[in-house]
């Protein structure tokens, strides 16, 4: 049993010690799955790192009690702590793509770990490793164990990671966002596996996640953290069903529901973050609407990539990323595009923006034909009319440019405003429009949080006076409360300027909130497309039904009035 009492972790800095977490209390019993939920920067991972003794230097445990069974984890020497790691406490990381050594076979990594903690022969260790892989659902394990990590798919790799974590029979596993990088189908399998291990092997799990749906589904108890402090803790149904702390309440309000659509998210600081109406940027955007509403039609779009070469004398088999995609985005509507990773969502966005060239098919923007990538000239009007908001606001803004420079670029580039001062004024007004302080023009991207940067990215896209906006996973790098704000913003802007939006997401619940129509993409083929409400209420394709069934949801009775009402 893990006991944490009054835990505080500090990071020394030039300006004195910074307290990362303080006053954290938690107990995890054998076989219990304890959810640790909070937004980025809440200190969830720091708690896990403190327990396993892997705090990033120069962080240190400043205060509190940490014990596993009878062992006081704080009194261990570094060598003793290293022996306990793997043996009694283990860890699962977020990204199975990067958490395995690419140069060693699964076999070597498993045997090495088993032998590090128990005195067994290599043959015995191998037998145990194979049995373990069979147990966690890797077929033909005796053969597959000889493979390298890159020969496994993402979900299988996470199973291997879990096998590595449990191969020494630990008492406690710290799972740091174990399913965040996985698709829903794989996520539900991994969650099942975690639940089974907790039940059958009586392993205690500390499940660190930002996804309240996951917590609702498998955690027995939950602790909500914010800014390094525990906000609320207790049995999952009680904390999520009847939250007593306002922060938990706000968090619950921000979670998009899957089973129905709400008009807007309730956001605590909405007054400051809302859209400012009637300013210069709004007027400028409204007067610039040359085309009223612009739809998009795709006919039989195919995209092929060169596949791996198998023989010297044969042409490589092309990899078909998109196959005969037909899509109609009605003018002034939001089309949601959902699908798992590798389904071709982003490829479709790139084909529309002209970044890649489809091998066949035609595209229309409004009534005009939209030339494909190679044929589209630099000055083609669609390069201005179609704009994009990318997933990762940390890498989509040039970190060496002032926000002002980033925002005014489309204004001179497309020749909208000749006067430099006027451009700056307009950029500032646009910042105001997307809910930011106008003085941001003089700052640099690193001075803003992820949500603020995404607002800037939206502002930049709008300053090109687009009629068609592609949002490629615009909120998947953001916390739920920030996601709610950005979704509200996009909804408001869409209503205000009659934008047509292609909204790409792997998150079904988000799409349900945003989209008028929804298309489901799988392996480059559109499985199903209809009005969003129909698609979610009465999914026709088996695949859509499966996706909906596997998405972790909050039981309806736990949802707050803001969401159900």
């Amino acid at each position: 049993m893990l006991t944490i009492k009054d835990l505080a972790v500090k990071f020394p800095s030039r300006f004195g010690d910074v307290t990362a977490i303080a006053d954290v209390d938690m107990t995890i019993k054998p076989g219990e799955i304890h959810g640790l939920v909070g937004e980025s920067g809440a200190g969830k991972s720091t708690v896990g790192a403190a327990v396993i003794g892997l705090l990033a230097a120069p962080g240190y445990v400043a205060n509190g009690k940490l014990s596993l069974g009878d062992t006081d984890l704080r009194k261990l020497t570094p060598e003793q702590a290293h022996e306990i790691r793997g043996d009694r406490i283990s860890m699962i990381f977020q990204d199975p793509q990067t958490s395995l050594n690419p140069l060693m076979t699964i076999e070597d990594q498993l045997i090495e770990t088993i032998q590090a903690h128990s005195d067994v022969s290599e043959t015995a260790a191998r037998t145990r490793a194979v049995d373990l892989l069979e147990e966690i659902g890797i077929k033909n394990a005796a053969e597959r164990i000889k493979a390298y990590p890159h020969q496994f798919s993402g979900g299988m790799r996470q199973r291997v990671v879990i096998a590595l974590a449990i191969c020494t029979d630990p008492e406690l596993i710290i799972a740091d966002e174990p399913t965040t990088a996985l698709d829903v189908a794989v996520q539900s399998q991994v969650l099942d596996l975690i639940r089974r291990l907790a039940r059958d092997r009586q392993i205690a799990f500390m499940l660190i996640t930002h996804d309240i749906g996951v917590i609702a589904q498998i955690a027995d108890r939950v602790t909500v953290m914010r800014n390094g402090r525990v906000m609320e803790t207790g049995e999952t149904p009680q904390v999520l069903g009847a939250p007593t702390h306002p922060y938990t309440q706000a968090l619950m309000d921000a979670v998009p529901p899957l089973d129905h659509r709400i008009a807007r998210f309730r956001v605590p600081e909405e007054d400051t973050a809302g859209v400012v109406t009637g300013n210069a940027a709004e007027k400028w955007l409204l007067e610039g609407q040359q085309y009223a509403l612009t739809g998009l039609t795709l006919q039989d779009i195919c995209v092929r990539f060169a596949g791996p070469r198998t023989s010297l004398f044969r042409k490589p088999e092309p990899y078909v990323a998109l196959k005969d995609v037909n899509l109609e985005v009605r003018p002034g509507s939001i089309m949601g595009l959902v699908g798992e990773s590798g389904s071709g969502k982003s490829t479709l966005a790139k084909a529309i923006t002209g970044l890649i060239t489809p091998s066949s098919g035609t595209m229309h923007l409004g009534d005009d034909i939209l030339p494909d990538g190679k044929a589209r000239s630099r000055h083609h009007p669609s390069r201005q009319l179609v704009q994009m908001v990318f997933q990762d606001p940390y890498s989509s803004l040039n970190s060496r440019h002032r926000i002002g420079a980033i925002l005014t670029e489309p204004l001179w580039f497309y020749g909208f405003v000749q006067d430099a001062k006027e451009r700056e004024r307009l950029a500032a007004a646009m910042l105001e429009l997307v809910g930011m302080a106008p003085d941001a023009v003089d700052k640099y991207p690193h001075q803003f949080s992820g949500g603020q940067r995404q607002r800037i990215a939206v502002a930049r896209a709008l300053l090109a006076r687009p009629r068609f906006l592609i949002c490629d996973e615009p909120t998947s790098a953001l916390d739920v409360s920030i996601q709610a704000e950005i979704l509200n913003l996009l909804k408001d802007l869409q209503a205000m300027f009659g934008l047509t939006i292609l909204f790409i997401s792997h998150n079904l619940a988000v799409v349900r909130q945003m989209a008028d129509d929804t298309a489901v993409l799988r392996n480059g083929v559109i499985e199903e497309m209809s009005a969003t409400e129909d698609l979610f209420a009465r999914p026709k394709a088996d695949y859509t039904q499966k996706l909906l069934a596997l998405t972790p949801v909050m039981p309806r009775e736990w949802q707050s009035e803001a969401v159900t009402g």
Binding site: T98, L103, V161
Partner: protein, 324 residues
Amino acid sequence: MVYFILKRLVQSVFVMLAVAFLAFSLFRFVGDPITQMTGVETSVADQERLREELGLNDPFILQFGRFTSDMLQGDFGFSYRTRQPVAEMIADRIPATLELGVVALLISLLVGIPAGVYTALRPRGIATQAILMTTLVGVSIPTFVIGIMLIFVFGVQLGWLPTFGRGGTVQIGGWESSLFTLEGWRALLLPAITLGVYQLTLTMRLVRAEMMEVMRSDYIRFAMARGVPMRKLHYRHALANTMVPVITIIGLQFGGVIAFSIVTESVFQWPGMGLLFLESIRFVDIPVMGVYLVVIAFFFVLVNLIVDMLYVAIDPRLRIRDVQ
């Protein structure tokens, strides 16, 4: 895999052709070979006859073709200066340069890699800071100054080591080696250190930077969390991953060591190709210069090919395709 190697081979052929072309242009454009070969007393008619006999009036492309095919058959022509076949001259000098280069490389690897690992694992240690400072001085000083300083200290002041030449050499087949006598090693030591210092610093800093990067990676953190013994963690997990990018640079640098051993060879009067090249420049000995160019390029291409194959050997992701 086979395809990958074949592709590299084809690329190498083109690189060699380009270099051969450069070497050939030396003949064509750096002075007139006839005036180089004949004295003032040769009549214009004789000069013309010679020109015709040597095929210098043929179309450019035909001459280049002849040049390349001669090269491929091992006929490198004759030196203007010594009237010896160039092939012989180069063959005489290659062992000295190769031995010097290889020993310099070994020194740089045997010292550079452990030093890099050490400084990466103890980034804040005093020894680390000292090593980093010293090696910074090492790269800042030009090679010839280091050579002269070594000669001054170990050759002149202490009188421990010879300051020029190859010392005792042994003939093995056509290969004149200094690796089998004590005298030979004594003579080799100073030039090899001089040549290896820069490479050593580079290797060390590269290994250090890569290793620190790798130590922050998820799979090392995961190995830590599984309690993999520290020794295995550092050498089996971290170092292997560190070496993947480091090998490229070491390979490229080794080509450079062979090619630019000129300075070291001249400081230590080391009878290698670099010294030969310097002498050839002085006498505008174009055939030797051209062949030197081709031979050096050949080394570069060869080393790069070996590096590519090492890559494949180390990294299973290049060897084995994804199953799923």
